[in-house]
């Protein structure tokens, strides 16, 4: 494949941020078809539109997802990208790798594909960008036989679940995000590989309310760590923060680059608490935990003094999605607290998942995310399906319109009435 002139892309080799153009050019030295990727991208920069055709259904036998078909609309000009299918590889929970595994994956991709990847895709998978249809089965064979790993999800199925790094390197983790993510990913392999849902369905596990995987914004089923008991306080460490001890920088040192003045626990912690449930009593920091909403601000600011409680678990929120069609949705709080317990195979989480699926697979319309189904039927109906008693925690505020959908059995005497009997008392 001939080298192409790329005057527009060459402009993206300038500047201090790492350049994907430089990287791809270097890759092209050993993988000449990468020149065609650059060539077609240059054409897009010139024409200011995409040059990929719409659609193309390809895959491996037995799977209904994991590979996204893609074809160039200028294959004669750029034969190296005539087929440019994407392969999604399910990522290890928490995105840790051994270099042995990473190198094997890269060798595999150099052998069967373009050698261009995303580390990682938006849902969490490792993305291999660009291969031909005839390479898919051999690639899948080597992936499963030699590397002992698998494709991720695409289409109307369970998408590859993802999680934060959880307990592996975070003191705030309220459950073992990697373990539950991996365990449920294995449990639901069939749902990941064989589309049986109305539309896509995503799980994300964030082990604390800081929500580093954006579960509340990006997943249909958001499991977000929380706790039931009191924030643990180390009063000696509180004093270190108050004394501006350099070993105890506020917010774990995240504001070190600017002089914000000495640390002020009143202004930076107590006054910023959204529920105003903290105060100083002499030298002691006090928290009224019954008023706390576990937002994490005080813990974030004082990581050496404050820690989440000991009775940990998760809240389950359901229904997030991006704007198409009726606007973006965050997940709605459904179950305030569950234990996320490996000993019982995460049964409290699994029960909720399967209740949602049983219902949504029946009533969800084609291409309707579960959050849209929830909107269509209303939260009260959804809660009753989920067998969750309605509680004030389910709403930001009570409704302000009076349009209650009373059910007949809730009204004394039912709805059957006799108009003639009525007219005897109330002439028209």
């Amino acid at each position: 494949m001939a080298k192409h002139e790329t005057p527009l892309l060459d402009e993206l080799e300038k500047g201090p941020w790492p350049s994907f153009v430089t990287d791809l050019k270097q890759q092209a030295e050993t993988k000449p078809e990468v020149w065609d990727i650059l060539g077609q991208l240059e054409l897009s920069f010139k024409d200011r539109i995409t040059h990929w055709k719409h659609g193309g259904i390809v895959g491996v036998f037995g799977y209904g997802g994991g590979i996204v078909g893609r074809y160039s609309d200028v294959p004669k000009q750029f034969p190296g990208v005539e087929h440019f299918h994407t392969v999604r590889i399910a990522q290890p929970s928490g995105l840790y790798y051994s270099t042995e595994n990473l190198r094997a994956l890269m060798d595999l991709w150099e052998k069967y594909g373009s050698g261009v990847t995303n580390m990682h895709g938006s849902t969490g998978d490792m993305i291999f960008l660009g291969t031909r249809t005839e390479n898919l089965e051999p690639l899948f064979w080597d992936l499963t036989h030699d590397l002992k790993q698998d494709l991720g999800g695409s289409g109307s199925n369970l998408r590859t679940p993802s999680c934060c790094l959880g307990e592996s390197r975070c003191e705030w983790a309220c459950f073992d995000a990697q373990e539950v993510c991996n365990s449920l990913t294995q449990r639901y392999q069939d749902e990941i590989h064989r589309p049986a849902f109305p539309y896509k369905f995503k799980f994300k596990f964030s082990a604390c309310p800081n929500d580093c995987v954006a579960a509340i914004a990006r997943s249909d089923f958001s499991v977000i760590g929380t706790w039931k008991d009191n924030i643990r306080i180390d009063q000696a460490a509180v004093q270190k923060y108050i004394a501006n001890d350099p070993e105890y920088p506020s917010n774990g040192g995240s504001h070190k680059g600017r002089d914000w003045g000495p640390f002020d626990i009143q202004a930076e912690v107590i006054d910023l608490c959204p529920t105003q449930c903290m105060w100083m009593e002499g030298n002691e920091l006090k928290i009224d935990d019954s008023e706390c909403t576990r937002c994490m601000h005080c813990i974030n600011v004082l990581p050496r003094a404050l820690r989440p409680g000991l009775q940990k678990g998760a809240s389950i929120l359901i229904g997030a999605k991006a704007p198409i069609l009726d606007g973006a949705q965050f997940s709605t709080l459904v179950v305030p607290f569950v234990e996320v317990n490996k000993e019982n195979d995460f049964e409290e989480v699994v029960d909720v998942i399967e209740k949602v699926w049983d219902w949504w697979m029946e009533v969800g319309k084609n291409r309707e995310r579960v959050g849209e189904t929830m909107q269509r039927v209303g939260l009260p109906t959804f809660l009753s399906v989920m067998e969750v008693e309605p509680m004030p925690q389910h709403v930001k505020e009570p409704r302000s319109n009076p349009y209650v959908f009373w059910k007949e059995e809730e009204v004394e005497g039912g709805w059957d009435r006799d108009i003639e009997e009525y007219r005897r008392r109330h002439a028209a």
Binding site: I49, G62, G115, S168, G257, I324
Partner: protein
């Protein structure tokens, strides 16, 4: 033995799932999982996590373009083999994390990282701009209204100082999605760069019969702008659709469902900027990003209008927000009218919602601030 196309099901393995994460944890991580006590950012891009056992893990975080070659990943592996016992991880925002178990190992690790020139910039921690979450754009997607890696590179070149420093009031999360499908889920970002179309779909009558389920295409429009219609192709009447352009909100959902309704256009497509979203529950609840700039052109190769606009917003926020205040919290405290005044962005009617639930965003109060926007009423 490898794949045998004559016997494709022979010896097949499926449903293995991902590799077990526990096999990929560096020893210090494995030994201290669940035992971490606290962390500190020692300097931009360098963190220490301290375990109750007294063990420490030092992490050096580096940016990456996300769109990377196998050779780039092999460079990562070389660094991890040399310094990190052959382990490495990635963050959810496309950063690379190299971990070592002793402070003395940090400086040599950083030195090796720096020997790769600008391939692996160190930073992305704390109150700065970390790496951009983004989509594919013109490198792979069939529906984009802008490129992804190109504008991200241009924006990060411009904001590079903020990646390697921690001078902002809080972390600033920038994300780019190249169309309204938002694979990049930019709807809860401090600064969202969003590809948008502005021309209704064209109708490829000659192709529609072969590639499109008409009822699905018609049902795909949330505003009922796609209607059944007849068309003449090669002198023959065929079933097709018509588009009520006045109703079109340019969401692109019809093209997703029907390849015969393409939208892409050099002049029509470009970028909208939304700001003030957040995911974390810290202090205030998660917030959606709000549209403050309806359109900037796709000026290839470096999107100067977008780059300038992002900087303009960031600088105003840096100057004016209080410590810990996320961009959306700042805008809400000072009021959105002051946000437009302080950033210098023009307010247009396109920032006023006229879609479903729009009324929720209209101001039903006498509380407002006098800004340049009200001058016509106050300077009589």
């Amino acid at each position: 033995m490898g794949y045998d196309p004559k016997n494709p099901m022979e010896g097949r393995i499926s449903d293995l799932g991902p590799r077990y994460y526990g096999d990929f944890l560096p020893p210090v991580i494995k030994e201290n999982k669940g035992k971490w006590l606290y962390h500190e950012i020692l300097e931009p891009g360098v963190l220490v996590h301290v375990s109750e056992t007294g063990a420490k893990v030092f992490t050096v975080r580096c940016g990456s373009p996300r769109l990377v070659s196998v050779n780039y990943v092999r460079d990562i592996c070389d660094i991890a083999d040399k310094h990190c016992d052959g382990f490495v991880r990635f963050t959810t925002r496309n950063n690379i994390e190299f971990m070592v178990d002793a402070f003395e190992k940090v400086a040599p690790l950083k030195e090796t990282i720096k020997s790769y020139g600008n391939k692996f910039p160190i930073g992305g921690t704390g109150a700065g701009v970390t790496n951009v979450v983004h989509t594919q754009g013109w490198i792979h997607c069939h529906t984009p209204a802008t490129d992804a890696s190109g504008p991200v590179k241009a924006v990060m070149d411009d904001l590079f100082e903020y990646f390697g420093s921690m001078t902002l009031p809080a972390q600033v999360r920038i994300a780019l999605a190249c169309c309204l499908n938002m694979c990049g889920a930019v709807h809860a970002s401090d600064i969202a760069i969003l590809g948008v179309h502005r021309k209704p779909p064209m109708i490829d009558h000659a192709r529609i019969t072969g590639v499109c389920e008409l009822p699905l295409a018609i049902a795909s429009c949330p505003l009922g702008a796609v209607k059944p219609a007849k068309a003449i192709v090669n002198g023959e009447e065929i079933k097709s659709v018509q588009i009520n352009a006045e109703r079109c909100m340019f969401c692109g959902n019809c093209y997703t469902m029907c390849p015969a309704l393409p939208m892409a256009d050099a002049e029509g497509d470009g970028i909208a900027i939304l700001v003030g979203g957040k995911v974390s529950n810290a202090r205030s609840a998660p917030k959606f990003s709000k549209l403050v700039v309806p359109f900037l052109p796709n000026t290839t190769p470096r999107w100067p209008e977008t780059v300038e606009c992002v900087r303009q917003i960031l600088v105003a926020y840096e100057k004016d927000a209080k410590k810990y205040e996320r961009l959306g919290e700042w805008a809400e405290r000072i009021s959105w009218e002051k946000f437009f005044e302080k950033t210098g962005l023009p307010f247009t009617e396109k920032s006023i919602d006229d879609y479903r639930l729009a009324y929720d965003t209209w101001r039903t109060s006498t509380q407002f601030k006098y800004t340049s926007h009200t001058a016509a009423y106050t300077n009589k």
